[in-house]
Amino acid sequence: MDGTLSGRFARGLALAPDRPALRADGVELTYRELHERALLLAGSLLAGLPGRQPAVGVLAGKGPTAYAALLAGLYSGVTVVPLQPAFPAARTRQMIEAAGVGALLADDDALPALTALHEAGVTLPTLFAPGGHPMPALAVDPDSALKAPLPARPSDIAYVLFTSGSTGRPKGVPVTHANTAHYFRLLDERYDFGPHDVFSQTFDLNFDCAMFDLFCAWGAGAAVVPVPARAYARLPEFVAEQRMTVWFSTPSAITLVRRTGGLGPGALPSLRWSFFAGEALSCKDAGDWAAAAPGATLENLYGPTELTITVTAHRWTPGRYLNDMVPIGAVHPGHATLLLDPSGAPTAGDEGELCVAGPQLTPGYLDPADDTGRFLQHDGHRFYRTGDRVRRAGDGGWLYLGRQDAQVQVHGVRVELAEVDAAVRTCPGVEDAVSVAVPVDGTVELAVFHTGEPVPPARLARHLRELLPAGVVPRAFHHLDALPLNSNRKTDRRKLASQATAMRQAAGAGRTHERRQESQ
């Protein structure tokens, strides 16, 4: 097998050609069917374009046709930029421009997103099978179907994903085929996935943890099952119906399943593996999930997009840990680690900012200007500064302590508070704004304090949905005549954060939706 992502699909295809590669919304596609569909779409795309493009955008949600679109992008041999149809068009346009996207592959549900992008000023050749969209159309042409996926070199960029930037502009992170080849080779050694496994697919395709779901499953001939939002209301039934064996989500899902009464002991008996990543995992959540899925081995995974999906893993066993949080575990073999003290100097101590060098490291941001301060040379290695503070654990692994800066993770989505501040300031009537993170049930929500006119929260939220991914739109808005200052005459973010937390607790006391599980 070659080391590309499409090479992993080829391995699954050889192992299980007539078994399902995907089950979504009641539609089942075998490996052979998905392969042929992707060859058709990739060939049609390439035949309709004047020449080789630097990148192709894959505008895909999680419906039955989303996965063929993504696979077709990879089959085209061109860099893939996964784009989220539910994102604000203005944001997607920034990504398209930054990554040099020359064409779009859209899934069958993407018409509203294509229309919105066109209205936002994007005009790109687009392959959209149902037709009837405003972009210049590329036709699905059976005569142009590829015979085989087009090859890529290890140094070629497999995909580009975007993370929040403090300037208000998303930062593009290129990940090479060599990066993903190292990653999946390690996972192949660590896990025992096979053709009878059924993987959950909870992450949106523009979130790199989705690559874990797809290419662990497809490298093993296993099935991938997207989990629709409504499945969380009755998760044990859904998991049983689908005969799901591998679960991977953010820890927020545990809280949600607990609230909907689905986290009783033994409620998820079919699971063999459970994985969590994207935000800190508490010992209580891990313990409750493990009791619900007694047949599963549970791992906490950690890693920024810049280090290819995940770069540490901790296999959970019951016990007490620092701050009652599950450790993030040891950094993957083949990588060097370095700690920085608060001044940014390398330290031999046991605590500091985690820096990682090695084969999973991105070659650098799309815009080299974004590299400043994020990478450092040391001992002949190029390290990425994660911005995460860690402490050395006794077993060679790491304990997660928190962030170094004003970046937070809201339901697993990294966001710079400065980006949210900037977005709020664009709302008519708002003069100045400060957003703060409020801890809620093991994840965080954002709250905003603003000056200017007292704009109704519903109007602010509607405006922000045009600029920010829905998941990170703040959940509370507070109007102030002036922002409080600390003794350094800077905005007192700490005071605002504790104020927001107190107000959230007061509001939360009146709205408890916890049900069966909590009352036991």
Binding site: R230, R259, A458
Partner: protein, 83 residues
Amino acid sequence: MWDDRFEQILRPFLPFLPPQEELTPESDLKDLGLDSLGTVQLLGTLEEDYQVRFRDSALTMDTFRTAGVLWDTLRGMLQSTAS
């Protein structure tokens, strides 16, 4: 119009609806702060409190678009249970 219980259940999921402001059938629930996680929880709470079960075909974002549409869907299920 709906019963008091419906509004009591719904309001906590609408952080942008001030307590003194009226909830109308046309109120757009997304604008008032109902997010996808809230939708899932709201669904579970309504099913438990009213002892009904939403059919999968009813579980679209459209059902949760406005307070009026949601109440009509719920009332439809209550009537078919009663008959």
